[in-house]
Amino acid sequence: MWLSLPFLSAVGVLGLLGIGLLGLLVTRNLIKVVVGMQVLVKGALLALILAGKLSGQVQTGQTIALTVIVADTIVSVVALALAVQVRRQFGTLDLQALSTLRR
């Protein structure tokens, strides 16, 4: 049971979700926030596929995971473009400095 693929995958899902949450909580860099979000989404993707496999509906799980991949990629692209503009405008990517900036 301990070395079965579903159990190990569930451990991987929980680990990725925990690491992503930790990254979002401790980071102050705008680009690192996107990295933490990406790790969280990887956990969610694996969870969807694992749920599909356990319920006998792998194809439905794959389809929903595909939608999540598309949404996640677009969110990342927009967030990175935003980070580039923020860096050009304010000269920093530090969230603490950005939240206290006065124009």
């Binding site: 070395l3 693929l5 579903p6 159990f7 190990l8 995958s9 451990v11 929980l14 990725l16 979700l17 925990g18 690491i19 949450l21 930790l22 990254g23 909580l25 401790v26 980071t27 102050r28 860099n29 680009i31 690192k32 996107v34 990295v35 990406q38 790790v39 990887k42 993707l45 694996l46 596929i49 694992l50 496999k53 356990l54 319920s55 006998g56 509906q57 792998v58 194809q59 439905t60 794959q62 389809t63 929903i64 995971a65 595909l66 991949i69 598309v70 949404a71 990629t73 677009i74 969110v75 990342s76 927009v78 990175l80 473009a81 935003l82 580039v84 503009q85 860096r87 050009r88 603490q96």
Partner: protein, 162 residues
Amino acid sequence: MFDLLIVAAMLWCAFQAVRGTRLLIAALWLAGASALAAILMFRLGAPEVAVIELSVGAGLVTVLFVFAINIAGEEPPVKLRTLVPAPVAVIVALCAVGLGAAMALPNLRAASDVIQPDRFAKVLWEDRSLDVLLQVVLLIGGVLAVLGLLVEGRAQARKEHQ
């Protein structure tokens, strides 16, 4: 044993991606985690999504990260005080993982032995066509948002130049 190695390596890559101070190296660790997650998806019987995750998650997104870091420029790796104190963040993350483990792991058994007989393309195009529509809308929205951001940045640069 192979699966255990894959999961351990994936978690290690993800942890290094979150922990590292250099952005470029964090992006490369993230690409490694994506590739290992794709292998795990393949082992779980989802080859189509595994290929897409490998090409998009480990390929395209990594290229975008490197591109953005090159344009924005990497800030010097200074150890800044975190917004949430690190011990509190670790406790919160561990509580969340522990709660998830307590809820999910005891119930981890196959609910049905019947395997869905349909093909991926049939489920995607016929059963879940609304998802495809949503993906198209998301793609158009994303392209418009990036174009808007870039045009605004160019207009700002032109104004500063004048």
